[in-house]
Point group: C2
Chain length 300, copies 2
Amino acid sequence: MTQYHHIIESVPNFSEGRNQETVEEIVNVFRAKEGVKLLNYSCDPDHNRMVATIVGEPAALKAVIIESAGKAIERIDLNLHRGEHPRIGAVDVIPFIPIKGCTMEDAVSLSKEVGSELASIYKLPVLLYEKSASAPHRENLANVRKGEFEGLDAKFLLPEWKPDYGEPIKHPTAGATAVGARKPLIAYNVILGTDRLDIAESIAKRVRHSSGGLRCCKAMGVEMKQKGLVQVSMNLTDYSLTSVYQAFEMVKMEANRFGTPVMGSELIGLMPLEALVDVAAYYLGLENFSVNNVLEYKLN
Amino acid sequence: MTQYHHIIESVPNFSEGRNQETVEEIVNVFRAKEGVKLLNYSCDPDHNRMVATIVGEPAALKAVIIESAGKAIERIDLNLHRGEHPRIGAVDVIPFIPIKGCTMEDAVSLSKEVGSELASIYKLPVLLYEKSASAPHRENLANVRKGEFEGLDAKFLLPEWKPDYGEPIKHPTAGATAVGARKPLIAYNVILGTDRLDIAESIAKRVRHSSGGLRCCKAMGVEMKQKGLVQVSMNLTDYSLTSVYQAFEMVKMEANRFGTPVMGSELIGLMPLEALVDVAAYYLGLENFSVNNVLEYKLN
């Protein structure tokens, strides 16, 4: 990617985390394409969801995102989809993040082009969110997703939830898609040593901003059925303000209230180097430690 | 550096950590030179020492290392040097580490070329150490440095300590220099909330390999006179075996014995990304987390 002057990142979320054939068919779209690079992808069978991280120059990125959406729409039927994570569509959400030589406005433009084309090519209703939102009540993804796939038809009847692109009728199998530009976020889950979802939800409530917790933290309780555990699933929306270690320690602190052990944590997608440096600096009490003190290339 | 196929790293240690003019004159040699890149440099006034980290293709790296040694020899008089860290010369030690497209043998060859030229150009006796050592008792840098600058003349009279290059007489002001190839190491100091050097030494003894501690850890107690504190100064010689968090936690554990608080820690030079990932994975209990989950480029 070093040869490109304009780079945007996309982290599309697809509603399939169990069928490997479908996952690979989608992910293959991102492989060996000029101008884009697949950095990472991961599936969660409990969430029944796959998240890919791709960077690229805007035109090439747009092309692969649209192509991958086509594969997902062809393969995934939301009427049959069950999972622990809220979702409205086969391609549930497509965020765009400006990385290099691009402004947030560039990412907003790209999100609108993609949204418009998804609607016209696949007859998929598209809702713009975050920095691309057409009204303040549509900025928050949780609001956009409220009611999920099953509630889309009723939602689209409300004038305030008319899609930004496409007809106000859900795609029969692929539902709808949220598309938007946003700042980089860290998707971070802390795993609890209990199967009680009410405990995870109670901790999530105390940790998240909306109910009095950390400023740049969204959180919800999620079941991990395969492991018989629950997790506090978080989005850290600005890691320069709210750090990963703060989220982790605050979940531990609140878990104490229930005598619930914290088993560990997991990242979905990628952790920016700055955020990693912040974690190490906190736990080791490192003085004067920054990204400039990290040897980035891989050793033999 | 991405355009070069063969890259070696060097981390020369110079015996000046107080006079900024001297430090800048040395460091300037590494700046704006074709084929090499200065990654980092840091001074410690208590150690009275400056450590630089440079990467480059072998021929260019050799040229700047020899030039920088010239500046140090010109500027630094070991007869007047006082500091808390053991040293034998104005350019105390020059390690070479293979990074990309090079083997340890390539780094050994480079170290011998540099050693030979330092002796012939500057009449500086050179002792090869680590992977470049001419005998097993000369591998360990602590042995090479034993007796320090002040003891060099007596040391050179012993046949087993004859220099590898140059006459067995110390340079009158610049002493001698240890040059060698080695694996990457992490120079890492943990700061204790006491001014008692005996406590730092006692902890160092328990943490280091030579007296029963962690396998890839060398350690000593060092005074931080400016702060009125002491530190356990460590070299982690293979961070894939002995991790930074293990060293930190073990110092904390041993400090408990004395009721001494641990104030924090510091890295000298750079921390490889793998080591950083290891620290975050430990403290956050991260599952399936590796360097592939780190977004390495800097965001806008």
